[in-house]
């Protein structure tokens, strides 16, 4: 049965199904219960599922993430919500030194079936401490998977797919996407979490994005179509392990690529994509791969400044036009 639902509702539905169907699964994080979730993702679930399974945690990011790791070692399958990526740095030691290492460091005796969800990104006038885009940092860490749902279908489906994994999976929900809506199966089903997706086929140039930059790229593609440029848009979906094949197939067709990433340009994940294309499809390239990234500045509060600091359809369009 299909039904129009938001990205937020799709995640909520997936949470409800997962927690109902598996006693090992529970949600833990700051204000996920009584408050209903900082982004209202878990609104109502406390009443439905109770405080054991919808577990409010104190302001102790390092410890409740570590507790998620420990619980995962002992038979549970926790879904930990870090309210936003901005606070995840407080838990990064547990993530890098424990969650990502325990399987290997223990010689394969342990594994950590843990899911960590967090809101990410800017464009909400939250200023320098609440607007980070650090997906690229997480994608650098061996031992974990990194997912970036950009659609309603992926928002719910990726969470259920992540629950089929034996290792830690990090899901980055771009905060500007929570209100987007689409027709979706009421009963959420797991989706593939191996491949990138071509969201718009095109022949002239490949626009590569993830999270919020997918829609921005699609908007740019529409504007470009009017100008007679047929852009292909790829949604990476999974940053780690990265599906290079889909990217290279596209570049082999278009011979041009732009990576769109809201993160600060230097050291962004966009650099990784560019380097991979260099390594795997150099001879296919008619022009150097370009990057449209965030400006290298702590995010300013003022709307006109923040808008200027982030990739926009218009900036993508002009970057494309520079190719032709």
């Amino acid at each position: 049965m299909k039904k129009k639902m938001t990205y937020r509702e799709a995640i909520r539905a997936a949470l409800r199904q997962a927690i109902r169907n598996d006693p090992a699964v529970f949600l833990m994080g700051e204000d996920v219960g009584r408050y209903g979730g900082a982004f209202a993702v878990s609104l109502g679930l406390l009443e439905e599922l109770g405080p054991e399974r919808i577990r409010d945690a104190p302001l102790s990011e390092s410890t409740f993430v570590g507790a998620g790791i420990g619980a995962a070692l002992a038979g549970m399958h926790p879904i930990v919500e870090i309210m936003t990526v901005n606070f995840s740095m407080l838990a990064l030691d547990q993530i890098v030194n424990n969650a990502a290492t325990l399987r290997h460091m223990s010689g394969g005796q342990l594994h950590v079936p843990l899911i960590v969800r967090m809101a990410t990104g800017g464009a909400r006038r939250m200023a320098a401490q609440h607007s980070h885009s650090l997906e690229g940092w997480y994608a650098h860490i061996p031992g974990i998977k990194v997912l970036t749902p950009a659609t309603v279908a992926d928002a719910g489906g990726m969470l259920l797919a992540a629950l089929q994994e034996e290792d830690p999976v990090f899901i980055f929900e771009h905060a500007t996407l929570y209100p987007i809506s689409a027709e979706n199966e009421e009963e959420i089903a797991p989706v593939d979490i191996c491949k990138a997706a071509v969201r718009r086929p095109g022949k002239d140039i490949t626009l590569i994005g993830f999270g919020a930059t997918v829609n921005k790229s699609l908007q740019a593609a529409e504007q470009l179509a009017a100008k007679g440029i047929d852009a292909e848009v790829i949604d990476l979906r999974v940053l780690r392990p990265l599906d290079s094949a889909t990217i290279m197939e596209s570049v082999a067709k278009t011979h041009r690529a732009i990576v769109v990433d809201e993160a600060w340009k230097t050291g962004s994940f966009a650099a990784e994509i560019s380097a991979r294309i260099m390594e795997d499809a150099f001879d296919e390239l008619d022009a150097p791969v370009a990057r449209v990234c965030g400006a290298e500045v702590p995010m300013p509060y003022a709307k006109h400044l923040e808008d200027a600091a982030l990739p926009q359809p218009a900036t993508i369009v002009s970057a494309v036009q520079a190719f032709f």
Binding site: Y35, D56, P58, R124, Q129, H130, Y301, K303, L305
Partner: protein
């Protein structure tokens, strides 16, 4: 408690100086209340964006505490810092302009509501990461100690939620271990967003936690501006005299939602109503009237002046210029200095 006793002395006197001071406390609380009521209105008009955390209900804390500080003292606050900034004397117009995101704002529109800065007034900012300001306060006090000024007090405001963060304990320990003049001000409004203190702390007695880190402490009724002033003067005195840290827990309550985004589902209307009977401004007005220190005429004068100040702040914000987009990358780093 003793500070309450001590407190009442301050007020019962009737020489003008006391009366003036009493009216000043009232005025300061009203400035915060009216400023924020307007800010909330303007937020609904989408002229103020992002997060807006209102202090309404907690005014006695910032106003009372600020009385204990000298111009040399330093202040570190949280994202809920409108009250502290106003009480410290940061001009209302530069705060309103900041919330509008204008170039004339106290942080040039870079910070917004959560990140007020005014170095001239030693206001070292609103910090948005819970607990993130505490180590900064330790460092400010360390600098004063190392530069031979243990009499300068660094006052650090933080909430009850922050005591769940490890940084709270680390910072208290460092302040005591290194004998640093920090006045720790815990604004215990009973909630961290939607999480009540007893649902995030097994031991809700914050003074026990301070004791475990070697920091002496007191607790005061944060709805009583006179008691707050007395307790903070006493504490600041101790810090100034000894050069060592002291923690004051201020029991208060937030009348509005955590932020404009908060549906406020986690507490009862009754609870809020009960606390409203202890409104720091209303109760203080009654008290002053009872002591014949305030009458209708004086009150409406004050209200009028405060209303004008807020209206002027809004005019200023409305008419102020935006920072040119060309300046986007300005102030990320120092302008290139000549190299060796």
């Amino acid at each position: 408690m003793s500070t309450l006793a001590k407190a009442t002395e301050i007020i019962t006197g009737t020489e003008t100086s006391d009366r003036e001071h009493a009216l000043l406390l009232l005025r300061e609380m009203l400035r915060i209340r009216r400023f924020e009521e307007k800010a909330a209105e303007i937020y609904t008009m989408s002229k103020i964006l992002g997060f807006l955390h209102l202090y309404i209900g907690e005014e006695a804390v910032a106003v009372g505490a600020m009385q204990a500080l000298t111009p040399e003292d330093r202040i570190v606050a949280t994202y809920r810092e409108h009250g502290q900034a106003l009480a410290r004397g940061v001009p209302a117009k530069s705060l309103m302009a900041e919330m509008y995101g204008k170039a004339t704002g106290c942080s040039h529109g870079h910070g917004g509501s959560m990140h007020f800065f005014d170095v001239d007034r030693r206001f070292y900012g609103g910090y948005g990461i819970v607990g993130g300001g505490l180590p900064i306060a330790v460092g400010l006090a360390l600098a004063d100690r190392m530069q031979g000024h243990p009499e300068i007090v660094t006052a650090c405001f933080f909430g009850d939620g922050a005591v769940a963060e490890g940084e709270f304990f680390e910072s208290l320990n460092l302040s005591a271990l290194w004998k640093l003049p920090v006045l720790w001000l815990c604004e215990n409004n009973l909630y961290a967003m939607g999480t009540a203190l007893e649902r995030h702390q097994a031991q809700t007695n914050i003074t026990f936690k301070a004791q475990g880190q070697g920091v002496p402490s007191s607790t005061v009724d944060g709805m009583d501006v006179v008691a707050v002033e007395a307790a903070c003067r006493q504490a600041a005195e101790i810090v100034r005299k000894t050069g060592n840290p002291f923690l004051v827990e201020l029991r208060t309550y937030r009348y509005r939602a955590h932020s404009m985004a908060d549906p406020d589902l986690y507490r009862s209307k009754e609870e809020i109503a009960e606390w409203q009977t202890r409104d720091p401004i209303a109760t203080y007005q009654t008290r002053l009237r009872g002591q014949a220190l305030l009458n209708d005429k004086e009150l409406s004068e004050i209200e009028g002046e405060v209303a004008k100040e807020v209206a002027d702040a809004i005019d200023f914000a409305e008419t102020s210029p935006w920072e040119p987009v060309e300046n986007l990358l300005k102030d990320v780093c120092a302008p290139e200095a000549p190299k060796p």
